[in-house]
């Protein structure tokens, strides 16, 4: 079977799918175990937040508790956008559609982290600075611009009809996009005032530091679960698209012969 497929591809008939003999993509194994782990990790994080860290710190009161959900989102944004870039580069190198699916799943989870980051950050800003949004803070602005850039990635991916070209173009955009993030950060840092509360001394308290890095790990397990879930969905969608393409070709062949 696979020989016929590859023969089709070399003659250009199967160019559009660019698929491997079988796209594969059986559903993620060990998903239930992973889900239980993620839940346990997050509940433990909540427990740390209400028992182990100071309940209020000088200057911003207990509003700082949101930090333990905000900071992990900030780190994981970079993890998933970084993974998106890595997967895009690997797609361009190997042309294996699985990297494209990985990149897309990483993009969606990255955008989810980014949304959590912006919403928790904005809420905190309202409590601490009495404003939902501040235009001259480099971190806020880079987070917002990142969202726009990566929503652009999904829009670009959705806009191109032809699968091989879509993957190719999205691969290039995914590789480019990450380069922009330090640029945005430094360009605003040049003029903005960092009003970000990272400078509070209480945030370098040992219990706070330990809890926030534990939070990064716990949320990583959680976001990774969402990533696997998203990746499964992408795989099924791609397999369906591939099957439809094959059916269409069979019909065309039937019509011509």
């Amino acid at each position: 079977m696979s020989t016929i497929n590859s023969a089709d591809r070399t003659t250009g008939v199967d160019r559009t799918s660019g698929a491997l003999p079988r796209l594969g993509g059986s559903p993620a194994r060990g998903f239930g175990v992973h889900a239980v782990l993620a839940l346990a990790a997050l509940l433990f994080l909540n427990w740390l937040v209400v028992t182990e860290v100071p309940l209020a710190i000088k200057g911003i009161g207990s509003s700082y508790l949101i930090f333990f959900y905000h900071f992990p989102a900030a780190i994981n944004v970079f993890v998933f956008y970084g993974a998106l870039m890595g997967a895009s580069v690997l797609y361009l190198k190997t042309k294996d559609p699985i990297w494209d699916r990985r990149a897309r799943a990483a993009a969606e989870v990255g955008i989810l982290c980014n949304a959590v980051l912006l919403v928790t950050g904005s809420t905190w800003a309202k409590a601490a600075w009495n404003a939902w949004w501040v235009w001259n803070d480099p971190r806020l602005m880079s987070a917002a611009v990142m969202t726009l850039i990566y929503i652009g990635y999904l829009m670009l991916h959705g806009a191109i009809e032809e699968p091989a070209r879509r993957r190719q173009v999205a691969g290039v955009y995914g590789s480019l996009a990450f380069l922009n993030i330090p640029m945005v950060h430094y360009s605003i840092k040049l003029f903005g005032q960092a009003s970000h509360p990272m400078k509070f001394d209480a945030l370098s308290d040992a219990s706070v530091v330990a809890t926030r890095w534990y939070g990064v790990a716990a949320f990583f397990v959680f976001y990774l679960l969402i990533y696997r879930w998203t990746f499964d969905r992408k795989s099924r969608a791609d397999r369906l698209e591939d099957s439809l393409g094959r059916i269409r070709r069979i019909e065309e062949r039937g019509a011509t012969s």
């Binding site: 670009l156 173009v169 922009n180 640029m183 605003i188």
Partner: protein
């Protein structure tokens, strides 16, 4: 017959783009008119009084530049892709990177030329003046900014030309990517209007952006045009 060297093909391609554009003039005309319209819109949106303009003039100038120049960048690939010209070009024995640099150069020349005209119009219409230092700062800013702007623009243009409604998509992808240069460009233009000399930090920031994306374009452009000939 040996294929021409990269430098020779580069020059030929740039000259060829130039001749074609000068013969058609539609793109240049739409860019100019769009810029003019944006300037007029600003005169309504922001009261063109002296004190207000002191804070807003650099921003007005760059938003105008951005809107006008994007039209040119959008056309750089859409017209050629649609007419089959791009596919023809790709059959020529030219390295993809050369094609990329040539397209960046010709678009750059058009965009800078347009911005010089629009800049003068801005000075006249909004009653602003520049001293020598300021003029040098502004011109250097325009050149350093446009290089990054056009580089990213050509890349994104090559991504979106085949998409229906790709002109909108191009802007959606391009503007957030340009935010860092835009930010620096406005600050630098502000210095220019105040008659100050160029800031090294700002110039370095622009240069870093330009070089990063030129390098990325050099490596990645071939992937954007690889399948064009056969698939479209």
């Amino acid at each position: 017959m040996t294929p021409p060297g990269p430098w020779k093909s580069y020059c030929t391609l740039v000259r060829w783009d130039w001749t074609r554009e000068m013969r058609r003039k539609t793109t240049l005309l739409s860019m100019g008119v769009m810029g003019l319209i944006t300037l007029f819109l600003f005169s309504f949106a922001i009261p063109p009084e002296r004190e207000v303009l002191l804070d807003t003039r650099a921003g007005i100038l760059w938003v105008t530049f951005l809107f006008a120049a994007t039209i040119g960048i959008d056309r750089a690939f859409r017209a050629d892709g649609r007419s089959g010209m791009l596919q023809g070009l790709l059959l020529a024995p030219v390295r993809r990177a050369t094609l990329f640099y040539a397209r960046v150069t010709s678009t750059f020349v058009f965009v800078v030329g347009l911005q010089l005209v629009l800049g003068v119009l801005f000075l006249v219409l909004f009653n602003q003046s520049l001293n020598v230092d300021g003029a040098i700062t502004l011109i250097a800013t325009v050149i350093a900014t446009d290089l990054g702007f056009v580089t990213v623009g050509v890349m994104i243009g090559a991504m979106t030309w085949s998409v229906p409604g790709g002109d909108v998509l191009l802007r959606i992808l391009l503007f957030p990517m340009l935010l860092p240069v835009f930010n620096v460009a406005v600050a630098s233009a502000d210095r220019a209007f105040k008659g100050q000399a160029l800031s090294t930090t700002q110039l370095l920031m622009l240069a870093a952006f330009d070089l990063t994306f030129l390098g990325a374009g050099h490596l990645l452009f071939e992937h954007l045009v690889k399948d064009v000939g056969s698939d479209v």
